[in-house]
Symmetry: C2
């Protein structure tokens, strides 16, 4: 029996999210179907976390256990030959039998891309949220930092459910990094920018990143002040924070494990 | 009567090329349909040149004449509200009555993207040609320069037809710039490169850029030498040059007019 770790990138546009759902196109479903073709068995594929419908991934991680005698490299090539081009296996490797993509993850990084410009390039629209209206970057960047640390994120979560399938019922989460950056976008003639929100944490509640970004946009519009973030944590009331942003701007950038290069064991 | 110039970007993946064809989804057809909605008239839209099925554009240009009293800015906003997200009007402007997108063009620039890496990102596959096999960049770059100048491109054309709808029957074309560059590709973890072929000329024969790139790939594989390019011009035999590369790597990057900023009137 071998344990295989997959690192995956996908364009979530045409999928109903990561997790298998009957009758819906899902990333886990597509990978399971190919794996069944390869091994003649319906194997369980364990993802590091769910991504919702329309959300992308550059570094989602999963693992599965199999008695098939293909090497990790052979699995990677077979997957990439049989999967649609919108799902790619970026890396495949043998891991110890006790490796579990979800329980062993020590950090996840998400990015949310807001396109600042009048016209969204036809090559980018699947991957960005377009916001051409006035927004104050500096107060958004200041507010973004307020999410770092350990907080009760009840005000920034879906009404139910957790991306991590709630091992416990706590709404407390630890965020290591939360910041806004601006990047020149040279996809089309003329000047445009992307404002990118990057957040790295141990784990996340469902919709948490999209609710945080919605709150940052409210700050950028002047509806909220950076000082209000602390109050929102106190309130534990999701109706007081900003809206849940649309999925297409969101990407699961990376999942880290204790042996991830550059990962120092602590955070 | 006003004359409106449109600068357009499009993802050609789901279109049967620029030019209207009955029963086929085309870019010109989609724009004509929206223009008919806006003006209640079927107006002729003149493109700077055709792009074939699957070929993209970042800077295609067209013009149309209308008695509608919308401003150029209103046309741009209305087009972008009604067109699919895979076609965007990047700019719209009033131009003198004698402006003609095809006849007034003084130069066009095309880019062809070859993805060098094992796994193509799910965010890039529509826009690159994947070639993971050994290729010698330096000889390809050397060969690319041999296309600059005035040449008979019979060996590098489709068997019939011209992108410019053949005003004349000559197969001679003038190329101002023809070069290969390499660009780091940081779309996914791990190192990968794009090799980008950029060609700028007065006008092009049908399939000419894709035949040139196919020939450069033959050079990169050692099937041809850079010295053979001059012989291929002499032979006037399209069976001796490289294959026509697939369309998805190709993008019409820019069309220049005498008044294009930075354009000095000569070439």
């Amino acid at each position: 029996m071998q344990n295989i770790k997959l690192t995956m990138a996908y364009d979530g546009t045409d999928f109903s999210g990561w997790q298998i759902q009957p009758g819906q196109p899902t990333v886990q479903g597509a990978i399971s179907d190919v794996l069944e073709n390869l091994t003649q068995q319906r194997l369980q594929i364990q993802g590091a976390g769910r991504t919702d419908a329309g959300v992308h991934a550059a570094g989602q991680v999963a693992n599965f256990k199999t008695e098939a005698e293909l090497s990790a490299d052979e699995f990677q090539r077979a997957f990439n030959a049989l999967l649609p081009e919108s799902i790619r296996i970026v890396a495949a490797e043998h891991v110890p039998p006790d490796f579990h993509a979800r329980w062993n993850a020590v950090a996840k990084t998400y990015r949310y891309r807001i396109f600042r410009g009048r016209v969204v390039s036809p090559f980018l629209w699947r991957y960005v949220q377009h916001d051409p209206f006035p927004l104050d970057f500096d107060v958004m960047a200041e507010a973004a930092r307020k999410f770092e640390g350990q907080h009760d994120f009840t005000s920034f979560a879906a009404s139910t459910g957790s991306e991590d399938e709630d091992r416990d019922r706590t709404m407390t989460r630890v965020i290591y990094r939360s910041e806004m950056t601006r990047v020149a976008c040279e996809d089309l003639p003329g000047s445009a920018e992307e404002w990118v929100y990057t957040v790295r944490g141990k784990s996340f509640l469902r919709y948490m990143v999209r609710k945080i970004v919605g709150t940052l946009v409210d700050v950028g519009r002047g509806k909220l002040q950076p000082e209000n973030i602390a109050e929102l944590f106190e309130m534990r009331d999701r109706s007081k924070s900003g809206p849940t942003m649309p999925p297409q701007g969101l990407c699961l950038a990376e999942v880290e494990y204790p042996d991830t290069p550059g990962h120092d064991g602590s955070q």
